[in-house]
Each structure stands twice: as C-alpha cells, then as structure tokens.
Amino acid sequence: MAKKKQEAIFTPIGLNNDKNGKVEKSVKLPDFTDKTHKDLKLSDDDVVEMYRLMQLQRRFEERAMQMYQKGKFGGFLHLYIGQEAVSTGTVFALDDEDDIITAYRDHGWGLVRGISPKEGMAELFGKAAGCSKGKGGSMHFAKTENNFWGGYGIVGGHIPIGGGLAFANKYMGNDKISTCFFGDGAVDQGALHETLNMSQLWKLPCIYIVENNGYSMGTAANRHTVGEIHERAKGYGMKSALFNGMDALTVYENMKEIADDVRKNGEPYFVEIRTYRYRGHSMSDPQKYRTKKELEEYQKIDPVERMKSYLLENDILKEEEVEKMVEDIENEVMEAIEFADETPFPEPEALYEDMFTGTPYIHDRK
C-alpha cells in the first residue's frame, strides 16, 4: 500500500495547531537585574522620575485608546502599553544629545524625549499644535530638537536611517551615539541585514535594538523568524546582548553599559530586549493569535506596577505620594485631551506647507 502523503506545511502552525493548541512563543524572559538603583548609581529622584515617565506613558495611551474608541480621531493607533520600561530605562542610560529613532509604536518614545502630553495628544487628534503639526499622526511623533528623530511606518525602513544618524555623528566627530529601535517583525527585512553589515564594516556608533514583544503583528516570533534573534549579530561579528525589558532598572543597567561601550569603542551593538505588548498590534486587532492566559502571565510582571512596588518597598515613596503622583499624571493627561479637543485643526494652507526646506515647488498648483 502506498504511504499516505502528508500535506506540505510552510509556516509553523500557531494556535490553529489542534495537537497542542498553543503558540510556541520564542520569547522567554531572561532574569531581572538583582541590583538596586543605588548599585546602579541612580538617585531616589531618578527612580521616582522613571516611575512617573512610565505611568505617564501608560495613562496617556489608555486615555488615547478611549478617545480613539469614542471616535475623536482616526487612522492607526499602535499602543506601547507593556513596553514602557524599555523607553524609560533607555533615556536614562543615554545622554540627551544621543539620537533615538524608532518605528510606529512611538508614543512612549516621544513622551520620554520631551514631547508634552498636550503636543502628543494634539498630534493624535490631527491638530496644528501637535508635535508634527498634525501632519504625521500616531505613527510619526518626533521632536528633532531633542534628538528624537521620529517614528516611522515602513517596517524596517528606518533601520538604515538610524545607521545614517550614527554615520553623521562619526563624520562630525562629536562623541554622540545613535539608537535605533524596531520590533521583532523588522528583523526579517533585508534593510536590517544591509545596515548591520555596513555598520560593522564602517564602525558606526549605533545601537540597533529589537524590542521583541513576541509578535510581528499577529504572527508569533517563532512563526516568522528562525533561531534566536540576538544571535544574528554573530553573522556580522557584532557585539550583542539579550535582556529583560519588563523592568526599567534592568533596561537601564544594560543600556548604560552598552552605550558606554559604543561611545568608547565606536563600534555598533545589536541588542534584543524581550518585552510584551498588552494590546493588539493596532486598534483593529482581535488578538486571536494568543491566549488570554499568556497575556495575564505578562500582566503579572507589569513594569509599571513593578516600579511602584520597588518605590514602596524601598521607602522611596509612600503609598499616598504614589497616589498623588498618579492623580497628577491623570490630570495632566485629561488636560491634554481637553487641549487636543479644543485646539484648532491646521488651516487649509497647511496642506501645502512643510514639503520643502528650500524653494517650494508643488506641481500644477495654481
């Protein structure tokens, strides 16, 4: 009897696999740091500010989501919720003069690099007072005066641009470094390969950081990419690191060490930070690709709650001080919403503005 031929399978099967019925997540979290903030030479004020920034990102996005659901604005909305320790630990590890560029999950990055909640919310609402004058929206937050070069919407497209920021720093000999953040989905793009190869060859002072949140939109990491992501660095002879992104102190400790190394040695670094996003890829995502249990497991190690416990357990803040801080943040965010709602939309003429730095040329415009 002829052997029954098996149907060919290409992509590894996720939740549809009725044999095990679960996604084999490749995202296993490394250990948290056991160092205290004092071991890491951070002051009490620093960790309080870390908590404030994480809570600000969280509250800003929770409210943004509500406003989106109320129909206050349209377009895409990709939330960073769950990943706030990454942005927060990183800005403390970098100098203010160092560059940051990221993908479209960018609200948190904007807030930690000086976009005010008002400017951020107004951008989401498409208002003229938005950080990008309402021209960019959720995916294109930027504050270039603070060396935050923006959020970008083509997966992997901004990776070579991150290399270009570092190229310019090396060209100008200014001792600044650049950091380029992207999701695990972007590691499958050719742009990453080209950029890593040139960065190592040309010794560009850049850190390329994968925020591996386990999913490339709805495709689990082990269904879209082979092997361990951080190990790709070996192919380029590049230094690499892997660490836990659910704790701001862990992120800070590692990013500080890496930033110092890149600044000192003038060579790039490839970093995989394992984290988790609580919300869908965007607002229209029914999240059928993961289990509720998995989500709950990560919510148990929430980075914002973790920092709150740290502050309380180490007597840095009292419970009522934390409550007061959260209340202040909540008020700030609500004021931002009020502002975003009331501040005007761009004037019609703005349609034609900001295309050019030099002489504007709009074809066939009377």
């Binding site: 950080c131 004058k133 290399g163 270009g164 050719g190």
Partner: protein
C-alpha cells in the same frame, strides 16, 4: 568656455562643491578606490580622502538610507548609483523616506541629499538595465528630478542640486559620459533647477526632449531642416519642477508640439506635459500633440529588436511630420 566630457563636468561639479563645503561627501559602489564605475569620481579619493569618498557594498537600500539619516543630521550626501536601474532596490528610501520625512514630521527635519547616476538604456543591456526612471520619481511630491543632456547643463545643475535643501535625483547616461561639450568657465557656475533651455530655435514645430533624447532630436532636426522644416527644441533639463511656461510660449509660436520621452508611455513625462499643453494652449494648437516614447514592452537584447524599441531620429521625424500634416 572649456571643452569637457560629460563625466568631467560631473566630476568638476562634485569637486567644487566638496571643496566649498566640508559637509558634502560621496558614497556608492566603486566611487573611491576604483575611481568610479564610469570615472565620474576620478581623483576625488586622492583629493578628499577616505572620510569623504566612500566605497559601499552592493546594498542600495542600506547605503541610501544611511545617506538619508546623515542628511537629516545636517550633512550633504551625494549617493551614487551605478545605474538608476539598481536604485529600485533603494526605492523605499527615496520614495517613502527622503521625499516624505520633512512633511510627516511637520517640518522638523530636512533631507538635503542628491541621488545620482546613469538612467535609462545604454545599448543592449537587457530588460533590467534599460529603464528610464525620471518620470517615475517625478510622480512623487518632494523630489526634484534633473536629467541633463549636455556637459554644461550637467555641471551647473549638479552644483545646484548639491546645494539644494531638499532631495534631488540627478540622472546621467552611460552613453553620454564620453560626450564632449563646451562648459562655462564662470566662477562658481550654477544653473537654477527648473529652468528649460531653448536649444534650437525654429518656427514650425516645438519638440520637447531631454537627456539622451535631446541628441536623437537634434539629429532629426538636421534632417528636417534639409526638407525646410525648422523645429524648436526645448530641453527642460529638469523633469521636476517642469518649466511649462517656456513650452507654452514656444507652442504659441509654432502651434504644434512633439514630446520625445525615453520612458514607457503610461503616465510618463509625455503624458503629463501633453495633458498640460491641451489645457493651457488648446486654442493655439493646429494639431494634436504627438509623443515619441518607448513601447509598452521590456527592453529586448537582440540588436534589431532593440533598435525597434528605442526612439530614434526617424520616429521623431515621423511625429513632426504627423503634427505638420506632411
């Protein structure tokens, strides 16, 4: 006036701008130690060193993006492509990033970058090495596209391109690099981007042609003159911004127009300029505007097929005769 090859005019423009501004640098495949695949960068490495004349791997997407990022930080990169046919691999950086970053960040960044290299066909190189991309890039807001035909235009316009605060695509031709022409010796010679030049005066038919097609049209003009037909050749030099005014003024005089375009017919320079002519000069036209362009097929290798494919003087003459009802 000095007589220079096209490639020498290009090199002089780059040299003068690198000398003038420390922020200008050039990167691309074979630009440094090899002295340029087509010798457009010959001698620059010796003069400016490895920091400013940079060989890249064959990674068009990657090195174009590095150029864009460097431009955002205030440098002035010149990105050389061995041909614009290879730049398709970098289209994401040119189309999605260089042209859009300023707008989508609400004016917070500038991208003063020049992407340059040979465009369109260069003989029997097959389907993937023969495409004219000027019209395609001109489609996208925010990009200037220059495709000069003579060394003088090349020098003056490339200097302006390097000084531009915004992204510019500067297109050359493998087949024109050795072509000689008089080049202005005026100190710091620049030509404003977006100004056409009437390269031959004539009262019978206006013919618009740039790049390699200008030379095809010039041949046609000589033969037509023998038959007593005087065409006026307008070389736009810049595809975008396009100098429509010069074309319309000429048509008011000739009442007839042919557009010679090295691209395929759909949505190219010929169709856009043709549309604008019918709208702006309808009452002046004595015949429908004609175009000479590539057929809607890929470039063939075989010589007889290739010759059928590429616009030549004969096709230009036929089109001129058609609009003249001859």
């Amino acid at each position: 006036m000095a007589v220079l090859q096209f490639r020498e005019a290009i090199r002089d423009a780059i040299d003068e701008e690198m000398d003038r501004d420390e922020k200008v640098f050039i990167l691309g495949e074979e630009v440094a130690e090899y002295n340029g695949a087509y010798k457009a960068t010959e001698g620059l490495l010796d003069k400016y060193g490895f920091k400013r004349v940079i060989d890249t791997p064959i990674s068009e997407l990657g090195f174009s993006g590095i150029g864009v990022g460097a431009a955002m930080k205030g440098l002035r990169p010149i990105v050389e492509f061995m041909t614009f046919n290879f730049a398709v691999l970098a289209a994401d950086q040119i189309i999605n990033h260089a042209s859009k970053i300023r707008y989508m960040l609400g004016g917070q960044a500038s991208v003063p970058i020049v992407f340059r290299g040979p465009n369109a066909s260069a003989g029997q190189l097959g389907a993937t090495h023969s495409v004219a991309y000027d019209s395609m890039y001109a489609h996208f807001p925010g990009l200037s596209v220059i495709y000069p035909s003579e060394p003088d235009d090349a020098k003056g316009l490339l200097k302006s391109a390097i000084r531009s605060e915004d992204p510019v695509l500067f297109m050359e031709s493998e087949q024109m690099y050795g072509m000689k022409g008089e080049v202005s010796e005026e100190d710091d010679y620049t030509i404003p981007i977006g100004k056409a030049k009437i390269k031959r005066e004539g009262s019978d038919v206006t013919v618009v042609a740039t790049g390699k097609m200008y030379h095809v049209t010039k041949q046609a003009a000589e033969q037509l003159a023998k038959d007593g037909v005087e065409i006026e050749i307008i070389d736009p030099r810049t595809i975008k911004p396009f100098d429509m005014e010069t074309v319309i003024e000429s048509i008011k005089k000739t009442n007839r127009c042919v557009i010679v375009d090295e691209a395929h017919p759909f949505g190219g320079l010929a169709s856009e300029v043709g549309f604008l002519i019918q709208r702006e000069a309808f009452d002046y036209l004595d015949a429908p505007v004609q175009r000479v362009c590539l057929p809607d097929v890929c470039a063939p290798f075989s010589k007889p097929l290739f010759d059928l494919w590429l616009p030549d003087a004969k096709k230009v003459i036929e089109a001129v005769n058609a609009v003249s009802y001859r």
